[in-house]
Symmetry: C2
């Protein structure tokens, strides 16, 4: 068993193309011996966003703090603390922080994600 305060886990800048103001903490992954899937905690600064992209693996997501939108293709859905989202493989998606405080969410992926490519989608349908 391994127990940690999430704020004690190293926070790293997300340097993927299309990511603005995004940090990530790898809460549980293969380093802990997790055999099947990984838990990451993302933090998006006000006015920041994740890449608008898709990939051939799923996300299971839980909004921990803050508010914003998730884009499903070009459609923006409001999100807030306590919302849960399943992003199916190949769904185009993007998180955007529309609030005044950091948007924090858990994002879980299968371990196989490291071997699979993400495809950046063009920005459209939303004013930057």
């Amino acid at each position: 068993m391994k127990l940690q305060r999430s704020e004690d886990v190293e926070s790293r800048k997300v340097d993927m193309p299309g990511a603005i103001g995004c940090q990530v903490r790898r809460l549980v992954d293969e380093a802990e011996g997790a055999p099947n899937f990984a838990m990451r905690l993302f933090e998006v600064a006000p006015d920041g966003h994740t890449p608008r992209h898709s990939h051939p693996y799923e996300h299971e997501l839980y909004i921990v703090e803050g508010a914003g939108v998730i884009l499903e293709g070009d459609v923006a859905h409001p999100i807030a603390r306590g919302d849960v989202i399943f992003v199916a493989p190949d769904d185009v998606h993007q998180f955007r922080n529309t609030g005044d405080v950091p948007l924090k969410f858990l994002c879980l992926v299968p371990n196989s994600y490291k071997d699979l490519p993400a495809t950046l989608a063009p920005e459209c349908g939303v004013e930057d």
Copy 2:
């Protein structure tokens, strides 16, 4: 993509032997098409607890609200909002709510858990 408020997902009583005052919401699972793992939200009432047990699959856990302890074998570790826990396969574990409000945590498991047995451990090391 599927987006839900977690409180809109049906809450069911956990009827496993050894569970007292426990409810569960299945936030994401095979019903949503999740191919690899499932996200559940547990709620343990004050003075309630989950079974003291082990099983041959892992948990990835995140404390959403409330406070209590997790037993690692016979050793009780305090837990609170924002804590993250990896329970390795076959680790004996139990959640106990020691606070005045519900203890809420996310518990993720691989889809294979349905085919694998859980083993109830005798209560010891902690006063009921």
